[in-house]
Symmetry: C2
Subunit: 198 residues, 2 copies
């Protein structure tokens, strides 16, 4: 048996991502995916129980890939405020880049986010965990003063929704956007900062 022609979940995901990019979420069908792989669509169902699960798996891959730089930033060393700022700006930049470069995948992600699918929920939870990591580093460094790190991380995530939730994507290109991000970040950093340092 030739390794290359074995039908693996991995190959199916690859093909599905292609098909989604090519036809868009609304038009892409399991039959299209099967056609792209030159197999019957029944074979696809041997590896994924439903179209939804297939779509979710593709989205998960896509999100995990997008998330990588953020994991690195959260794990890095250095002063927490700078890292937090960098982390937020990176998240916004990733989203903005995605919406430009990969609009069909982004539309898929938007659809998933609006359905509040489990994939997206767990992805968000992961993001909040990364934020919490930076915040608790800040507390350890004595630069942040925070009662409930987890809840505050969630608050930071929520407060920046406008710049990372796909429902607001059309706003990101507007000229006043950078200034508004500026104001938001500085407000948040002030709120986290330990008061009365001197």
């Amino acid at each position: 048996m030739n390794e290359a022609v074995v039908l693996t979940p991995e190959r199916i995901l690859e093909a599905t991502e292609d098909v989604l990019r090519r036809f868009g979420l609304a038009k892409a069908t399991v039959v299209d995916v099967a056609r792209a792989l030159d197999v019957s669509h029944g074979s696809v169902y041997r590896h994924f129980p439903s179209k939804a699960s297939l779509r979710d798996a593709v989205a998960k891959r896509w999100l995990d890939r997008a998330n990588e730089p953020l994991c690195k930033l959260a794990a890095a060393d250095g002063p927490a405020p700078e890292r937090l700022e960098k982390w937020l700006r990176t998240m916004f930049a990733i989203k903005q880049k995605k919406v430009c470069d990969d609009p069909e995948m982004f539309a898929t992600y938007l659809a998933l986010a609006q359905e509040a699918r489990e994939v997206v929920e767990s992805y968000k939870d992961k993001q909040v965990d990364l934020l919490a990591k930076i915040l608790s580093d800040g507390v350890a460094q004595g630069v942040f003063e925070i009662d409930d790190v987890k809840a505050t991380a969630r608050a930071v995530f929520d407060s920046t929704v406008r710049y990372h939730h796909p429902a607001h994507a059309e706003e990101w290109a507007k000229p006043e956007c950078p200034a508004r991000i500026e104001a938001l970040i500085s407000l948040l950093l002030r709120g986290l900062q330990a008061p009365c340092k001197h």
Copy 2:
């Protein structure tokens, strides 16, 4: 001539709001509005140049009505932090109430918000002005320390998007929501507070 049967913009708006509530944004037609008023649809076009302008006018009325309590709060006296908190909670409550009581009108508002129509933009600007009023009161009282009041008001508005933008309405009913609002508000208040009071 009987006053009651004169076709005024006011009467048309009333009827349109009824029709929207009854049939929903997707189904409501100008013909329906005319039928409700027992006039020809041509007459409606005598007072409003297009269906879009009629819809916008209805939305404006609806938004203005919803906005009234917030104007009062912004104009009131008292310590700015408490007023800000009350203002935000009132805004969230109004939105939440609307989405329950008047779902069809809310759907109309959602559609408008997503199209980024001028009505909604100016309504948002009004809200930011109200916030700015409270913030500048706070600065005058010495409880807030803010560089750029206008930009900070915008940041406060943006940071709470999740709890007032209709795109996030499905989230508002979730049980963890109040706690998350709590965390967000306290983070924001800390960020506005003048540091080192003592």
